[in-house]
């Protein structure tokens, strides 16, 4: 006995339509369909009524649809488009997430009007929705108009979320509107894109008008000026890389790109963080899909780069958000070749100069901030009337000054190791002595350092006298301690206590 596997058609429709998570993907699919239909102009109008119901109207002057094309439009996985963006027959299924789809299309003197009611409700009630077809003769030029009513946009078309900037960025980064095909001699044709949002969504401007060319900011190779690296920009001309796989198949990778500073990159349609947008993009149909920033290696920061590497041998997920054949030899060969190409970019003289210039400018900025900080320090020093140690090096300077200006005793630094508990050896009238040199004496006791090997204390100030008294009233490391600042000594230990002289420098130097 043989059985044929069955497909649950309703589930498949729901599955594919649900794959499209971002409602803006409706714009990407509409633009792709219009481009595949050879349109030179596409208008997308998105409106929202007072109750939050969305209506999308997509109009283009492409070559329209006949009945077969319309079947492909509504069918799942039944595209009659070969070698086109929408070859899978998945994209238009995003429209099913709506209350009504109306299609009016003219092709070769025939006008078709088609309506599908409540597609999403029906699918969720486990029924396949149906669509009507009415054909009439016409002398109108070929065109298509698609209306999608009650589009389930989630938060996507929320007036709080959607802005023209966001749409423009989406078009240039995620759709055929940001195509790099025009750099190459592919079957590129120009398409003007006009997107209008109803004033209930956003009323900051009338519409987005653009085309399907990704353009880089103007080159700025060697600007004059002190802080100009952020404005530097270089274009890397379109180049076709080819790779031959072990089985003899030849892959072609079309790469074009730029390197630029933040200011230059900001001239593009960006919003948000550059680290989330720039880098090395892998693309199919010249539409960016995923980034592969490993191509530039760990020595470089990817956000300086904006490169698009298109390869038609990449396979994409249904919603075009991911590359599917990553574990195969094709992907490996593409990324290997891209690694080589990007290594050349990174070793190129201009890029190295650009990075060097950035580094120098950063240094200059740091010198400027250093100058500001020095001014502040100077003001503080003037206010304090000269040396006021805040670190051991300054205490040493104070000690030297103390010794050089007729001090009653000789205390000179013979050895100093900043990280050691007994950090100094001082040369005194009684010979070399182990010493703890502190800005504030009280800081020494906070760290509970043993006094066993300490012969002298040298400090700028005694510090927190209350804290020292508190220690005196309890004990220090289990032994009694007395701070006798009248006589400048510390008495430590039971019975015959150890006497440690303390030299406080504050007030003793000229």
């Amino acid at each position: 006995m043989h059985k044929t596997p069955q497909v649950n058609e309703v589930n498949e429709f729901i599955e594919i339509a649900s794959d499209f998570e971002d409602p803006l993907e409706v714009i990407r699919e509409a633009l792709s369909n219009s481009y595949d239909a050879n349109a030179t102009l596409v208008d997308i109008n998105i409106a929202q009524d007072d109750e939050g119901q969305n209506t999308l109207i997509i109009t283009d002057d492409g070559f329209g649809m006949d009945e077969d094309d319309l079947s492909s439009f509504f069918d799942l996985g039944n595209s009659n488009k070969h070698d086109a963006i929408g070859y899978k027959g998945h994209g238009t299924k995003i429209y099913y997430k709506s209350d009504k789809i109306c299609v009016e299309t003219v092709k070769d003197g025939t006008r078709i009007e088609s309506v599908m009611d409540h597609p999403w409700t029906k699918l969720n009630n486990r029924k396949l929705p149906r669509y009507s077809i009415d054909e009439t003769d016409t002398d109108e030029p070929s065109q298509t108009r698609i209306e999608v009513h009650g589009f389930q946009a989630g938060q996507g078309f929320d007036p709080q979320q959607l802005t023209y900037n966001k749409i423009e960025h989406y078009i240039k980064w995620k759709t055929i509107g940001g195509s790099t095909a025009w750099f190459f001699d592919d079957d590129f044709h120009e398409m003007d894109i006009n997107i209008e949002l109803s004033s209930t969504i956003v009323d900051t401007r009338d519409s987005v008008e653009t085309d399907n060319r990704l353009k880089f900011p103007a080159e700025n190779l060697d600007p004059d000026g002190e802080f100009v690296a952020e404005g530097m920009c270089k274009h890397y001309p379109p180049q076709e890389l080819s790779v031959v796989l072990d089985d003899g198949r030849e892959l072609s990778i079309e790469v074009v790109g730029m390197v630029g500073g933040k200011e230059a990159r900001n001239k593009m349609q960006t919003y948000g963080k550059h680290s989330a947008q720039f880098g090395i993009w892998l693309a199919k149909d010249h539409i960016k899909v995923e980034r592969y920033n490993d191509a530039i290696g760990a020595d470089n920061e990817f956000f300086h780069f904006f490169f698009i590497a298109n390869c038609q041998d990449l396979e994409l997920s249904a919603n075009r958000e991911k590359i599917r054949n990553k574990s195969g030899d094709v992907y490996q060969a593409i990324t290997d070749e891209l690694d080589r190409y990007m290594t050349k970019v990174c070793q190129e003289s201009w890029y190295r100069d650009y990075i060097e210039r950035r580094k120098l400018e950063d240094k200059k900025r740091s010198v400027r901030s250093q100058e500001n900080s020095l001014e502040e320090r100077l003001a503080r020093t003037q206010e304090l009337g000269g040396l006021s140690p805040s670190n051991p090096a300054e205490v040493i300077a104070a000690l030297e000054r103390y010794s050089a200006n007729g001090s009653p005793e000789t205390v000179e630094i013979a050895d100093f190791r900043i990280d050691e508990e007994v950090n100094a050896i001082v040369d005194t009238d009684e010979g070399y002595k182990n010493a703890a040199l502190q800005v504030k004496l009280s800081d020494f006791f906070e760290t509970e350092t043993p006094l066993t090997n300490i012969d002298r204390f040298v400090c700028w100030k005694l510090g927190d006298r209350d804290a020292l008294t508190r220690i005196e009233r309890s004990s220090y490391l289990g032994e009694p301690i007395r701070f006798d600042f009248q006589n400048n000594v510390i008495q430590y230990g039971k019975g015959d206590p150890k006497t440690i002289p303390v030299l406080e420098l504050d007030g003793k130097i000229m």
Binding site: F183, F216, K234, T343, V345, C346, Q347, E348, S349
Partner: protein, 421 residues
């Protein structure tokens, strides 16, 4: 002794800084760029055992055209020029009597080596002698070695090329220490120049430094010591002290390139430039910036560590070697493949590793041969293409090659009038 030496270095073809030359010394000719494999002629043994030395002995069997090993095959192309150091004479803890016996005849005067007609570059062994406190140490003797003694020992080997006893510098040297070493090297160079007539062959001058300013000092100190211009006293320049930086390709390229620049500025660019102690993957890059010859024992060291060279950039463990995929003559000889596979009876480790070392050497020599052929075309782009193809899959290494090609041969991204804004 007044000699009747004949030394010449002719440049046959150039491609950018890279050049294909012909070094002729007393009737022997060497095509450059060339790799002098390091060979220990004396390894503690007697003449019947080719003076021993374990794996070194097996190498000498290839070199001396021992029929049992070479089965009539001529492997002399691997050894057209070899490097041997006087410092290696005491590697095996020999007695003084034996040392005197070894030095009693020139290498080619021994019957076992009289068919060997490769060029012999006798190194003064500066690094080893210096680290030994300025001498050589055997089982029953210690011997101070100064420039005169070093030269006497070199001459006793019957060399085609000798070099002054040098005091190699180290990257960690303090400035004063480095200058002191350079001064001592310069004094030795001057002494070698004084004894120039004792040498029936070529005299090379050692210089040291990692970048232009250091090399400039090294050359200046030598010029100050010499009574005649460098090209009148010496037939070649040998750049030393690079071994501690052998894994830093950028440093190697800069050192060789800057040495070349110094030579050009001083008018010695027609002298051959030898690079001491470096071979392997850096070699093609150093050829591209003007090096003419190299010496290295890396082919032996790799073998001793059980490493089989797949090409200049990759090694695999001997167990994983695919001999069928290699077109070198050693791997096309069933006898040597059987030895490397350890499939023969009564094999010593030296036999297995000796064949492996010969293969590793063949790979390095093959690469330089390809380079010489490319250079003959005189087309820099061919050199660039070859280099680029060679490092295609060497992820960490290729950036150095791309940088070199981009900066010195052909920029990858020329300025264009077209912008894409």
């Amino acid at each position: 002794m007044v000699t009747d030496r004949m030394v010449s270095f002719d440049i046959i073809a150039e491609a950018g800084e890279a050049r294909h030359g012909q070094l002729q010394i007393n009737g022997r000719t060497l095509e450059t760029p060339h790799l002098f494999p390091v060979v220990n002629f004396y390894g503690g043994g007697n003449e019947g055992a080719l003076f021993g030395g374990g794996v070194h002995r097996t190498i000498k069997e290839f070199l001396a055209h021992d029929n049992e090993i070479t089965a009539g095959e001529d492997y002399s192309d691997l050894f057209r020029g070899v490097m041997t150091s006087i410092a290696s004479l005491t590697d095996y803890g020999i007695r003084e009597k034996k040392l005197d016996w070894y030095l009693g005849k020139e290498i080619r005067e021994w019957e076992c080596f009289n068919s060997f007609d490769g060029m012999i570059f006798a190194d003064s062994g500066g690094y080893k002698i210096l680290s030994n406190g300025g001498g050589l140490e055997g089982a029953d003797f210690e011997k101070d070695v100064d420039q005169d003694q070093a030269l006497d020992m070199q001459l006793a080997l019957g060399p085609d090329i000798v070099v002054n006893l040098d005091h190699p510098i180290h990257p960690d040297d303090e400035f004063e220490e480095r200058v002191e070493k350079m001064k001592k090297t310069a004094a030795n160079a001057a002494r070698l120049a004084e004894r120039r007539e004792d040498v029936n062959g070529a005299c090379y001058l050692t210089v040291h430094g990692y970048y232009e300013e250091m090399l400039e000092r090294s050359f200046n100190l030598i010029e100050d010591e010499l009574e005649e211009p460098i090209p009148e006293a010496f037939d070649g320049i040998a750049l030393g002290s690079l071994v501690p930086r052998k894994d830093n390709v950028e440093v190697l390229v800069e050192a060789v390139s800057d040495c070349k620049l110094e030579m050009q500025q001083r008018g010695y660019e027609d002298l051959p430039l030898h690079v001491f102690g470096i071979a392997g993957n850096a070699m093609p890059l150093l050829v591209a910036v003007g090096a003419d010859s190299f010496d290295s024992a890396s082919y032996l060291h790799q073998a001793i560590n059980g490493k089989y060279c797949v090409n200049l950039f990759e090694t695999v463990s001997l167990d994983e070697a695919d001999f069928d995929a290699c077109d070198c003559r050693v791997c096309n000889d069933d006898f040597h493949v059987a030895r490397m596979r350890n499939e023969m009876d009564n094999l010593y480790q030296k036999d297995i590793l000796g064949s492996l070392a010969a293969h590793n050497l063949a790979i390095q020599q093959q690469e330089l041969r390809k380079f010489r052929q490319l250079l003959t075309e005189g087309d820099q782009q061919l050199v660039a293409d070859h280099l680029e193809e060679a490092v295609k899959d060497q992820k960490g290494f290729r950036k150095f090659v791309y940088q070199l090609i981009n900066e010195r041969i052909n920029p990858y991204f020329e300025e264009t009038d077209t912008t894409y804004a």
